[in-house]
């Protein structure tokens, strides 16, 4: 093998090794440590108030026009409802939670943002029936929210 080929193989091996080390360091390969942090009572709460309390520490949040929820007015398929929450008009946003008021367990997701992460998330959710999609945003200790009604023709909880 030429020196060049040997060098390339060595570098490749080093990079692969360090990627694993990075993942292990970031705790991605350690389930027990991370699962302990999952907010079970919030996700299992059957009413909106308890769900909000579980992730935002309060069940009342003033409405804010700085939170934009982009979701269809009518969702053809309740199993796949695209939802975007944009709170980039606000500063210091540390988390964005998405809830569906009339789902059996309203809390759907809670996104914790890093310091350089923009206050924007996009995902797809399941909705059991027509309901308000609520975004709860925590910024600098203040909790605000916005809601948007999404009509669902075929429910997505499979019930």
């Amino acid at each position: 093998m030429s020196t060049d080929t040997k060098r390339r193989l060595f570098l490749k091996g080093t990079l692969a090794g360090s990627a694993v080390a990075l993942a292990a360091g970031a705790g991605l390969l350690n389930p027990s440590q991370v699962l302990a942090a999952w907010p079970k009572s919030a996700f299992e709460a059957k009413d909106l108030s308890k769900a909000m309390m579980g992730i935002a520490g309060t069940d009342t949040a003033a409405g804010s026009t700085d939170i934009i929820i982009k979701a269809p007015d009518i969702a053809e398929n309740g199993a796949v409802v695209p939802v975007k929450v944009d709170a980039r008009k606000m500063s210091g946003v540390s988390s964005i939670a998405i809830l569906a008021e009339k789902n059996p367990t309203p809390l759907i997701a809670n996104f914790k943002l890093g310091k350089s992460t923009q206050a924007f998330v996009s995902t797809r959710i399941k909705m059991g029936k027509t309901s308000n999609v609520i975004a709860v945003v925590t910024a600098g200790g203040a909790v605000t929210s916005a809601r948007k009604e999404v009509k669902v023709t075929i429910g997505g909880c499979g019930g």
């Binding site: 942090a37 924007f120 998330v121 996009s122 995902t123």
Partner: protein, 105 residues
């Protein structure tokens, strides 16, 4: 590393890194019933998704079973440049996990 079932795109747009990820996972809520047996299909869903860049955690997503099957996730973060690496991984309620790395384009 075992082959990942996460498809990921990380691109610099308007100076920030936009990440789009598609994960393969049944995301069972635990409420669906097996039509033949009438028994409930046990809950099996991703509980946590983590994305890191340069040693910092950019996003931690806590999920329940109401995120759609084969979840899609998109978010944007600053402070990255083309050629940097990001890592995205998930853990589910049964201890299952997957992760992948991607170069920012």
């Amino acid at each position: 590393m075992a082959k990942s079932k996460i498809k990921i795109r990380a691109k610099i747009k308007k100076g920030a890194c936009e990440v789009k990820a598609l994960m393969k996972h049944p995301m069972e809520t635990g409420q669906r019933k097996n039509k033949k047996t009438g028994k409930k299909i046990p809950a099996h869903f991703i509980q946590e998704v983590t994305c890191t860049h340069g040693g910092n955690t950019v996003l931690t997503a806590e999920w329940g079973g109401a995120i759609s099957t084969n979840p899609y996730l998109s978010f944007i973060f600053d402070g990255a440049k083309k050629g940097d690496t990001i890592t995205l991984g998930w853990l589910d309620n049964k201890g299952g996990k997957d992760s992948t790395t991607a170069k920012i384009k």
